[in-house]
């Protein structure tokens, strides 16, 4: 009997997180049978996040801000309205806030309470952004977190961490790398990484994309 009860205990403990594929299929089947969801619409949602929504949208916005001072000023004042004014098919919702890295301030975005992330402009967050390690440490020892990304900042640079605790969504406008004078927006966008728009990275240097 001790063996049997041990076995039952192990099974109960593991069952909550095992067999996810079956659980997901069961929930989807029941919801679809009851008419709350349309499985074909779910296919389209998955496709959109796999193929259409991603950091290339944010990169385009940053590249424009680097080349157009008027656009940058408006972006920093009201990012949602300004991005919508581009008239592109990549719409963004309300409450987007763009913050700029400068010679003396580096910005980092985190969500300590869950995993709020600017999906409209960066797509779905990477696993590290949602991890307990990042969420716990970014607000307390951001330089140590940046070291995990091989990023070292000058000792006197101010580090500003933005904890996304409400429906405002933040994106970082990284510093424009030197040696990119005269580059087009398309060329510049290739320098803008996902991590640089979260603040755990810097924009690529020209030689990194050559």
């Amino acid at each position: 009997m001790p063996h049997d009860s041990d076995h039952t205990h192990d099974h109960d403990h593991g069952s909550e997180l095992s067999d996810m594929q079956r659980r997901v299929r069961a929930l989807e089947t029941v919801l679809a049978e009851k008419g709350y969801i349309d499985s074909e619409a779910l296919d389209r949602i998955v496709e959109a996040y796999e193929a259409r929504v991603g950091p290339h949208i944010g990169a385009m916005i940053v590249a424009k801000a680097w080349t157009d001072p008027d656009f940058k000023a408006k972006l920093l004042a009201d990012a949602s309205t300004t991005v919508r004014s581009l008239g592109i098919d990549r719409q963004v919702g309300d409450h987007l806030v763009a913050v700029e890295n400068t010679d003396d301030t580096h910005n980092v975005i985190v969500c300590t309470l869950c995993s709020c992330y600017p999906w409209d402009v960066l797509g779905l967050p990477p696993i590290w952004y949602k991890s307990t390690a990042y969420r716990s440490r970014a607000v307390k020892e951001p330089r140590a977190v940046l070291a995990d990304f091989d990023v070292t900042l000058p000792e006197d640079m101010k580090i500003r961490v933005w904890d996304s605790t409400a429906e405002t969504r933040f994106m970082v406008v990284p510093r424009r790398p030197e040696g990119t004078e005269g580059w087009s927006e398309e060329q510049l966008a290739k320098l803008v990484t996902r991590d640089s728009m979260v603040g755990t990275g810097l924009a690529r240097r020209p030689e990194e994309v050559a």
Partner: protein
């Protein structure tokens, strides 16, 4: 609630593991289904974003810490679908429906609706009263420990910061989860000095901000 989800400032979780820029968003196909179900259920009005978040926060602590992101979402989807009466536990176990559907306020998402529903909704609401604070005011994050949902992280409670931005009036998550009322409140960006939060040995170059609803703050 003072749950394990409120992670800011905790030690012991180890290094952050960077990922390639081009990594695909879903590691397994079921993860995409979980996300899509959550979005579709949101659109049809099964529950709002705050109730959804609180559903994840209410997972048992050992499950919260052991589960992956989409595992948490799946467990939350199941839990809220049962709690709100959309489905029964028996139906989930059987993998098939055997009770009538419950009417929901929104429209079921169809394939042609996707473009519109991918844009985030607005949480801004008309102001109910003038803003109590202005940019530059010094404020203290209240020392509150509600048992229900709140968005005031523990690491700021009791500490003094400065109002930096006024973000408008927004749906107040605490009231929505507790009573189903939007109860719009002013939302502020409040910035704290790292040393005020973490003590004299903290990084002197660090500033941390939160987005704080007016009821979380008191004048200093």
């Amino acid at each position: 609630m003072d749950g394990v989800h409120d992670l800011g400032g905790m030690d012991g979780f180890g290094k952050v593991k960077p990922e390639p820029e081009d990594k695909k968003p879903f590691s397994e196909p079921w993860e995409g289904r979980v996300l899509a179900m959550a979005r579709a259920l949101g659109s049809v009005g099964a529950w709002n974003i705050d109730v959804g978040r609180h559903g994840i926060e209410r997972l048992p602590p050992h499950i919260y810490l052991a589960a992956t992101y989409y595992q948490k979402w799946q467990l939350r989807n199941e839990k809220l679908a049962v709690e709100t009466g959309l489905v029964t536990a028996e139906e989930l176990a059987a993998g098939h429906a055997n009770t009538p559907a419950k009417p929901l306020p929104g429209k079921v998402v169809r394939p042609d609706d996707i473009a519109g529903m991918l844009v985030r909704g607005s949480y801004g609401r008309p102001e109910q009263a003038p803003a109590r604070f202005k940019v530059g005011d010094r404020v203290r994050a209240r020392n509150i420990h509600p048992k229900s949902h709140t968005r005031l992280p523990r690491f700021t409670r009791g500490h003094v910061g400065t109002i930096e931005r006024i973000q408008g009036c927004h749906v107040y998550p605490d009231s929505y989860v507790a009573r189903g009322e939007e109860d719009p409140q002013w939302l502020y960006t409040v910035v704290f000095d790292g040393r005020d939060l973490w003590g004299p040995d903290s990084d002197p170059t660090l500033e941390v901000s939160i987005e704080a609803f007016e009821p979380y703050l008191e004048a200093v």
